[in-house]
């Protein structure tokens, strides 16, 4: 590890620690050759974009045709905006949940079905236990296999907040082997 590549975070900032661990886990899967799929993320971005466009429409329309002439457009944009915000909340709560990665492993020679991988992680506020779950699904409608590890973030971060990626990667690769074995034994 060149010192310029070292990941250093404020060890007391939960959000930054989680982001650093999540990014490192995603890197492991990327190096295994899996292709990250962005469908779920892109849908979220699209919902947010449409919402912002609605508010821009309201702003511009009201500027050129001041209230009260703009009343109906303003009402439409306002209601539409908050409706989209509710949709966004539902979407992140029930579809995105605590997923941090979705990826696809293309079918190789002797194995005709593509495999779908996913990562979920949790690090509660003011707590130090980080949970990482890896998911493997064979084909679009196959069974989903999981493997999970929960450890204190102190297992991978030192006193100065430097993430020891080599130790963490071994952990992630171990999870990967566990779930691959589960799927093979099925």
């Amino acid at each position: 590890n060149r010192s310029s590549d070292l990941v250093k975070v404020d060890k007391w900032d939960g959000a930054k620690v989680k982001n650093a661990l999540d990014d490192a886990a995603k890197k492991v899967l990327k190096e295994m050759g899996y292709v990250e799929t962005h469908g779920v993320t892109d849908t979220r971005l699209a919902i947010c974009t449409v919402a912002c466009l609605l508010s821009v429409l309201a702003l511009v329309y009201d500027f050129f045709l001041p209230f009260p002439k703009s009343k109906y457009i303003l009402a439409f944009c306002s209601v539409g905006y908050f409706f989209l915000m509710s949709i966004l909340t539902l979407y992140t709560m029930f579809k995105e949940k605590n997923y941090i990665y979705w990826g696809k492993q293309n079918a190789t020679g002797k194995d005709s079905t593509p495999k779908f991988w996913a990562l979920r992680s949790t690090l509660r506020r003011f707590e130090h236990d980080y949970s990482l779950t890896i998911e493997l699904r064979r084909g679009k409608s196959g069974r989903t296999f999981e493997a999970e590890v929960t450890k204190s973030v102190g297992s991978w971060l030192d006193e100065d907040g430097i993430l020891h990626e080599d130790v963490f990667r071994r952990c992630v690769k171990e999870l990967h082997s566990q779930v691959t074995k589960k799927a093979k034994d099925d």
Binding site: K18, L45, C48, D62, S78
Partner: protein
């Protein structure tokens, strides 16, 4: 103060995460904007919340009080009501009480919304004279269209922040810039 460390999060972001940071900032502004425009529609007033800028209505309202307005056509304005109006050509809303109401039945036009033909004279409770000195040159009365709304509720002191930001624009820009930078550079956990 290590300013380059503020950008650490941003440096490690990919295109989608960067776009989401911008969207996040946009959504905060949009939420405030949509609440404001929504209030405009619901109250019928072009300025549903105003800050009392002077002491001309003491002891009812003091400088810095926040007022909630409605502007429904179906609610007729009477003498004694506290109204918020804007003098034609000037941006600043004024909060005063209706002193006199001048009505001539022959002026009334059935095709117009009610009260458009009325003329009002206003005066601040704490002022010595009526508002004719504040109206536009040659204007002796206010019309219904000058009224932005009637005070329906109020919160004391909360508007001081708005007054501060108007008196010290540098403070306003500093505050807004800090908020903007904080939102744009901080990456939320997934």
């Amino acid at each position: 103060m290590d300013i380059s460390s503020w950008f650490d999060d941003v440096r490690r972001m990919n295109k989608r995460q960067l776009y989401y940071q911008i969207l996040n900032f946009g959504m905060i502004i949009s939420s405030a904007l949509m609440i404001w425009k929504g209030l405009m529609v619901v109250t019928g007033s072009e300025s549903p919340i105003v800050v009392v800028l002077s002491g001309s209505m003491e002891p009812a309202f003091y400088r810095g009080d926040l007022l909630f307005l409605t502007n429904y056509e179906a609610d007729p304005i009477h003498v004694g009501d506290i109204v918020v109006f804007k003098v034609e050509g000037r941006d600043i809303p004024i909060v005063h009480r209706v002193l006199k109401l001048h009505e001539r039945d022959s002026d009334r036009n059935e095709s117009e919304p009610p009260q458009q033909h009325l003329k009002f004279l206003t005066k601040g409770d704490n002022n010595q004279v009526d508002d004719r000195g504040l109206y536009a040159k040659g204007q002796m009365w206010l019309r219904r269209k000058d009224v932005v709304g009637r005070a329906r509720g109020y919160l004391p002191y909360v508007g001081i922040v708005t007054i501060l930001m108007n008196d010290y624009p540098k403070f306003k820009y500093l505050l807004l810039a800090s908020l903007g930078i904080f939102v744009l550079l901080n990456r939320e956990a997934n």
